[in-house]
């Protein structure tokens, strides 16, 4: 325990527990959804109001129904995130008339192997909890390697856990992602016609699924172009962003 205590202290300095990190990632998702809805014109710009976040003016929908909808998604996402059940979050923009998937924003989540972070929780109840995250880690890591072998922005999936980041560093990484999402409007094809969106989640087979959620296909873009955007990492999570879109004929 003597050894564990300093660990714990050190950990506190960096203060993002697994739980806190999950929360941060979930919050990032929430703003991502809002930002994408705004930037891609799924809802009219008038519906959005600016909110200061990550040192940026984030545009958040002020439409009650949209907010409620996203809130419902987020409430479940929070639980999954904390449980480490999620490997991807996907926002698919679909043409309302044809039902065709036009654009697909994918956020890959990996839970970083972080044995050192465990002590904080292990002091209370470690044995039951520890295995779960570890297993998910291994699967999701391998997933990611297959998926994005050439990802330039993910240089250190294994290296990051060692490097502790301050919260402001994380925030600036996130801000950079949002800047990129905003900037991506310049190369993404203009959406024409009415569009709607769907939220997909790649969850553990073992996770509990509330009734609002059902199995789906991946809604990949057929013959799509893919662009890897930035990612960010916290002490226990790494998130990578990828947008794929339908090429214009």
């Amino acid at each position: 325990m003597a050894a564990a205590a300093p660990e714990k202290d050190k950990y506190k300095v960096h203060k993002l527990s697994l739980k806190g990190s999950a929360k941060l990632v979930a919050e990032f998702f929430q703003y991502s959804i809002h930002t994408i809805l705004f930037q891609r014109g799924v809802y009219p710009a008038e519906d959005f109001t600016a909110v200061k976040k990550y040192g940026l003016n984030m545009l958040v929908s002020s439409d009650d129904q949209v907010r409620a909808y996203i809130k419902k998604i987020m409430s479940q996402l929070d639980k999954w995130m904390v449980g480490g059940k999620i490997s991807k979050l996907v926002i698919v923009i679909t043409d309302k008339d044809t039902g065709e998937n036009i654009e697909r924003w994918q956020f890959d989540v990996q839970i970083l192997a972080k044995p050192k972070s465990k002590p904080s929780s292990s002091s209370s109840s470690s044995s039951s909890k520890t295995p779960k995250p570890t297993t998910t880690t291994s699967t999701s890591t391998s997933t990611n390697q297959e998926n994005t072998p050439s990802d330039p922005t993910a240089p250190s999936p294994s290296g990051t856990p060692g490097v502790e980041k301050t919260e402001s560093e994380i925030q600036s990484e996130i801000a950079a992602i949002f800047r990129q999402i905003t900037a991506s409007v310049t190369f993404l094809p203009q959406l024409s016609g009415d569009c709607t969106f769907n939220v997909l989640v790649y969850a553990d087979a073992s996770s509990e699924v509330p009734v609002e959620w059902g199995d789906s296909d991946a809604k990949e873009i057929v013959n799509g172009e893919r662009v890897q955007l930035r990612g960010f990492s916290t002490a226990s999570h790494r998130v990578d962003t990828l947008v794929s879109y339908r090429l214009q004929d």
Partner: protein, 600 residues
Amino acid sequence: MATASVSTPLKSHAGLFSSRTAGGRMPLTPSPRQRSAQGNTNSSPFTPEKLSGDSQRASSKSVYGGNLSSHFAKASSKGHRDSPKSNIARSVSTPRKVLELGVSDFTLTGTGAHNKTPVSPKIKKAAAPLRQKSTKTTLTYNADRFIPNRGASSAIANVGSGKLDMQEKQRPRSGNGEASSILASATDDAIAALEGLNIDDEEPASYSRPSPSSAAYQDSLASACGVNVNTRILQFKPAPPESSKPIDLRQQYNRPLKPANASSAQFRRRIATAPERVLDAPGLIDDYYLNLLDWSSGNQVAIGLERNVYVWSADEGSVSCLLETSPDTYVSSVKWSGDGAYVGVGLGTGEVQIWDVAEGVKIRSMFGHDTRVGVMGWNKHLLSTGARSGLVFNHDVRIAEHKVAELVSHTSEVCGLEWRSDGAQLATGGNDNLVSIWDARSLAVPKFTKTNHKAAVKALAWCPWNMNLLATGGGSYDRHIHFWNTTSGARVNSIDTGSQVTSLRWSTHYREIVSSSGFPDNSLSIWSYPTLVRNVEIPAHESRVLHSCLSPDGQMLATAAADESLKFWKIFEKKAGAGAGVAGAGASGKASLDKQMTIR
């Protein structure tokens, strides 16, 4: 293995064959290409097969084997062009085992399959498109090469995925138009071969189902296959809400995120948020449905306080009590005539009186309503009165038979009524949540009846710079301001204000509209139009703002609230120098004289 494979292909063969041939493919020139094509088709499924053979997928393998053999059989049958065959045998050194297999099949099937051979000449075309890549090498059987190419991307690394990829590749080709055209021209054999491929594909396709086929997604495909085992893709099933705006605003990329004049402080108009003047209004009835405040063109403010009507002169700051009703009733509405000489007073009994303010005498009483008259509006010599019964009467105040029209639309108390400045249209709003827009020339039925509001509509305002634009505000359960094109009847904009809208006034010289709020805000909000940005929100009163009116110069807003106070706000002040002359009459004169003024 060989025998089994032989048998399967034969079956598929026949079926495909017959159906395809029926399609009437066109014959084309025979050539080495054709052979190569076949070789290609054969080999492509074939090689992966071999790879996969090592891997765990037994089922797929078997399928493949069947195809393979079938292809081979065909190839061989065509193969009366023997040279290619021999080539094949030589070149295909790597997949040796399979090759031999194929050969053996070939030999076996050779006799049986013969019938197909005659057709062969046409194959070439079909083959050609398929194998653009492979054609580079002269050997017809470069199929092997072909495979490595694809595999190079990622398939080879991952055996399972590799196979999928192959199929993917094949399938889109055969599926799309180009492929079909090719097919059309191909010989039966070629068709059969292709078909065989397709069919085979179907099976394995089920594996890859989770990831739709697409060349660009090979990687994700592969990963998806790997991931599938222990993850589920979940979708949030409820449909996302429809976008609320009736107009498609998809062209938003070209506009700034926020309108420049609303967002950046240096462009924003400075609006005084403190009242210029506060007067007591004791006894002001706290009733949303009444209209007890009006400002005349002669710069006099009339306010109804219980049984009295007071007139406060903004020029002189003097207050006078114009009238006191009989004790059995109360003042339910006041309205100045256009010239500012007369004030109409509606009473709780349904009586409407017209007073000459300068003389302080009543000119006439008009009867007709049997319920309280909560709202009135002048259009020259016409006085429109809305009553609790839902009826609206037009009175010609010059003639004895004053009632000239009865406007029947509302089924509940009328609390909003506004003539357009040119007198051509009249808007009324009622406790039945309706907004009715009337054409002055035909008052039998409303021109439009709008049901969008979800609560009583008291606040109505015609836009001074756009005659066709009407703003309407709903009550507590509605909280919205809707903007209408009164020519087309279309709703052009909406604002959710977040609280009861008790009155609306357009600025006469800014592109703005001010709304007063009831619970919970009790505030004044100034909105830019058409951007609908809230420029400022002024916490105006301690309880709900009931009435508002603009000064004749358009700079000052008077508000009366349930906290029994009357406040004057200089919210539309003209820029310095711009309108000093006009402003002088109302504002400066008032400022100098206000001191001794109080109502009462």
